[in-house]
Amino acid sequence: MPEHTFRVNGETVTVDVADDVRLLWVLRDVLGVTGPKYGCGINVCKACTSHLNGKAVNPCAIPVKALEPDDEVTTIEGLADTVDADLHPMQQAWLDQDVAQCGYCQPGQIMAAVAVVRRAKEEGREISDADLDGIRNVCRCGTYFRIREAIRAGAKAM
């Protein structure tokens, strides 16, 4: 079986798995990294949202062969380490607003939120209602309003 080498949450990993297995399953079923969740498998619900080299992506839609050895995959488990703290400011904002209900969508929500704020900052602007409306992550518990509040608060601390 082919070997694939890349980085996950700061560590280099090598997995022995078929080329076309999507990254979500390599993370969850092979590596046991279960923060990214399955909600659709077709890049719609965004429950699996993680970062690849700092950008939000959906691992359910990335074949593992697309990854290079120096590609850095960050899942919710590794988010705090990117700021060298116990919690990323966005996670703290999530706690402050008590956003999570069942929590199933929340790893993906937080990873998407961080990316959206980073994008706005790179463009030198504040988070707008349009940015928030544009977040596609499904939350079936309907925590959307608290998510909006948390992103605004988290953005200030980022």
Partner: protein
């Protein structure tokens, strides 16, 4: 007039005296023989114990049964006889453990239960450890999570157990510190003596333990000394949720339980006729097993991705299912044929309308899933289950194992909305594991979950209100629905206690309907009937069950009555409401939401009221139905009218955790918005067309009101009501009323966009879509 046993409930405008409340705070409990202190609650007298009296006597009841006994009383009544088995344990590290015999599905009951214990024992909230109990058949009905009943039914027993523990700790400390119990207090998990000497409860855990089980009495803290109950608290599992450490069923590492998926039929409940390439599929990369099970062909592989590939590769001939050739249109015809008569036309003016509510999916974001490890002599199951006892018994029977040989672990659920009352995935996992002879981690693909999962049944609601001048003389509602499957859990409860309920000899669904529906308005002679038809669908009770549809229809009629009488809709509601708490929440949202303010054409306000679960709720929304808003571009989704603002007021009696209650109301609002505007399943030729969240339009960020205000009314009762589902009905109705006002129409079919199919249906063969490969192109 119809006889009572038909399920009609008539009511005259007078209200009965309120049901008696518990006046005492002293309860019996137990200290159980255990190495460390273990306290158990004696059962509390059921508040509705007097309700049975009203069932005797002939004739037509003159009061609405839900004013005497409602579904929650029924469930609380069912729970009472075994509540004594609820135990609170004090550990040597100073923590307190409690295995909650309920399912946490996001509604926050682990947090609210921890609060009850922290309050009664004076220990810090973060030292209370709540886990979910395995299925415990000895609890009979007391392990059913539903009807927003958890806090109502466990509020007293949990506190009694904690109070017993507290009493024992004080007694043990009195010996240790050589002081009288009356001189001791507990603060932050330490017993403190008059001289400031202190001893932690962890140090007392063994000393306070009992060698033999003893009965004791305990006094509950009076409400005026509460420091935890009634204060806003964050969820106890919030940190785990935001760090990805919270474990759901599919996150558990059960040895050798490999990913498993099922290749499902192209029509609802179709069956496998034959499989052409089973052996070839078994040799696909990663695949270990492929077997035919009762619902399709199960494949087990190293990764779920490889399961998806195998499911897509299977070449299966299918037999037609239980809804063969049915479509929305034909089901509507069935409903029309089953609609009961509205009776003779009224001689006074009437407002009359028929509403249609289409099928809706109650999928949670976590799809149906379960882990099963079935051996020849035993089985172990892990799943998010709201009726684990029924699951355990049913699965044991199907596997041919004694009930005692099947262990059912209740995992945290990624949402429920009614779905997790059923154990479809657990049953399948058990069957697949038995047939393969290996442990399986079975998950439904999202497409399966939408197409073959439980749906909220399609229904019609006919309403006729007659009036004269400014007075409503009568109100009739005839609700006709595709049958709702209430069998797993509620059915057993209702059967067991049916004799105690004043509803006569009627079926499960009608009983549930009568017990859950209330009429908040004094509208003269009132009657409601539920009729069901067609059991060919996989249905279930979706969050708030019948109430959203029934309430939506009613509130639209209320608006029209007000218009015909030339009255302001809020004034009209205020004057007609028979319940003070309902009036108070209505007034609150009208005031806070600036009811009646001038708004641009194409935008409007809507307001609605709902009472259930010993609680009252009112919602005011503002909606924007202008074309530029409705048609704003959204990729792979629908835009539709935008609810721009929502104000919600809620009175649940005692709000144990106002912050959690607010969260539940927020979620209910999002459900209500979806049900009125965008979310439905389209049935065509025996199958639902929706296969994912880009087809099934649950509320998304672009539908979320940017302005939201939720007001928790001051405690109006000594006890909590239910909250997890409460807010859906008024939210759905308020959005519908606003939509009607903004568009100048009377919407009669829900959701309002159902007539337009806003997506390209995905193929049904193969039953699940291919996994995309272009993820890198969408990075943000």
């Amino acid at each position: 007039m119809r006889p009572r046993s038909s399920g009609t409930t008539d009511r005259s405008p007078q209200s009965p005296p309120p049901a008696p409340e518990l006046g005492r705070r002293r309860f019996l409990g137990y200290v159980l023989a255990a190495p460390t202190l273990m306290a158990a609650a004696e059962l509390a007298p059921a508040p509705a114990a007097t309700a049975a009296d009203t069932s005797s006597g002939p004739g037509i009841p003159t009061t609405d049964i839900t004013e005497i006994v409602d579904l929650n009383d029924a469930l609380t009544l069912a729970a009472a006889p075994t509540s004594a088995l609820i135990t609170v344990q004090v550990n040597t590290d100073g923590t307190v453990s409690f295995a909650l015999p309920r399912a946490e599905v996001g509604q926050g009951i682990t947090t609210s239960t921890a609060m009850l214990i922290a309050e009664e024992m004076d220990v810090p909230l973060d030292r209370v450890r709540i886990t979910l109990a395995d299925a415990r058949p000895e609890l009979l009905f007391n392990q059913l999570t539903g009807a927003s009943n958890t806090t109502i039914s466990t509020y007293t027993p949990v506190r009694v157990a904690a109070a017993v523990a507290r009493g024992r700790l004080l007694e043990a400390a009195a010996i240790e510190l050589g002081a009288a119990v009356s001189t001791l207090t507990i603060k932050a998990g330490e017993v403190i003596g008059a001289a400031g000497d202190r001893i932690g409860i962890g140090d007392l855990a063994r000393k306070a333990a009992a060698v033999t089980t003893e009965a004791v009495t305990a006094e509950l803290k009076p409400a005026d000394r509460f420091t935890v109950i009634g204060t806003p608290q964050n969820r106890v599992d919030a940190l785990a949720a935001v760090t990805g450490r919270k474990k759901f069923a599919m996150d558990l590492a059960v040895p050798n339980a490999l990913p498993t998926m099922v290749c499902r039929p192209p029509t609802i409940n179709g069956k496998v006729a034959s499989v052409a390439n089973l052996d070839a599929v078994r040799t696909m990369p990663g695949v270990t097993d492929a077997v035919v099970i009762s619902t399709g062909v199960a494949v087990r592989a190293r990764t779920f991705g490889q399961c998806i590939d195998a499911v897509r590769a299977l070449n299966v001939a299918w037999r037609p299912g239980t809804a063969a050739s049915k479509s929305d249109r034909t089901v509507l015809d069935e409903l029309k044929a089953a609609e009961p008569s509205m009776g003779l036309p009224s001689v006074t003016p009437t407002v009359e309308e028929t509403f249609t509510f289409h099928f809706r999916g109650n999928s949670a974001l976590e799809p149906n899933c379960a882990i099963a490890d079935v051996r020849s002599d035993r089985a172990e199951i892990w799943s998010g289950l709201k009726s684990p006892i029924v699951a355990k018994q049913t699965i044991a029977a199907r596997l041919g194992l004694p009930v005692g040989a099947v262990t059912v672990h209740v995992t945290e659920s990624g949402g429920s909305f009614g779905r997790k009352l059923f154990f479809d995935a657990a049953s399948e996992a058990a069957e697949a594991s038995q047939k393969m002879g290996k442990p399986v981690k079975l998950m439904w693909h999202r497409a399966d979950d939408a197409r073959q999962g439980r749906a909220h049944p399609m229904a019609t609601s006919r309403v006729r209100a007659s009036y004269l001048g400014g007075t409503v003389l009568g109100y009739k509602q005839r609700h006709t629905s595709v049958a709702t499957d209430l069998s797993h859990g509620f059915g057993e409860v209702i059967t067991a206690i049916a004799a105690k309920l004043p509803v006569g000899d009627i079926g499960f669904s009608e009983t549930f309907f009568q017990l859950s529906q209330s009429m908040p308005y004094d509208f003269g002679v009132y009657s409601r009937v539920l009729n069901e038809t067609d059991k060919g669908f996989n249905t279930g009770s979706m969050r708030n069950v019948y109430s959203p549809d029934v309430t939506c229809a009613r509130e639209l009629i209320v608006d029209r009555l007000a218009a015909n009488m030339g009255k302001d809709p809020v004034r009209f509601r205020h004057d007609a409401l028979s319940d003070e708490r309902a009036r108070a929440v209505l007034d609150k949202v009208a005031d806070l939401g600036n009811w009646g303010r001038t708004m641009p054409a194409g935008t409007a306000q809507g307001i609605a009221v709902h009472t259930e679960y010993h609680a009252a709720n009112a919602v005011l929304v503002e909606i924007d139905c202008r074309p530029e808003t409705v048609n704003r571009p959204i990729r792979d989704g629908v835009a539709g009218p935008r609810v721009t603002k929502a104000v919600c007021a809620v009175d649940v009696g005692l709000a144990v955790n106002p912050r959690g209650l607010e969260a539940q109301m927020m979620g209910c609002l999002m459900d209500g918005i979806a049900q009125t505007l965008t979310a439905s399943l389209h049935l065509r030729d025996g199958a639902f067309l929706e296969a994912s969240w880009d087809n099934y339009f649950y509320t998304r960020q672009w539908n979320t009101p940017p302005e939201l205000d939720i007001v928790i009314m001051p405690s109006s009762r000594e006890k909590p009501g239910g909250a997890g589902e409460l807010g859906v009905a008024a939210a759905m109705a308020a959005v519908a009323c606003a939509y009607a006002r903004a568009t100048g129409t009377m919407p009669t079919s829900f959701p309002v966009n159902h007539g337009t199919l806003s997506f390209e249906p995905k193929p049904t063969v193969p039953p699940v879509p291919a996994s995309p490969t272009d993820g890198l192109d969408h990075a943000i």
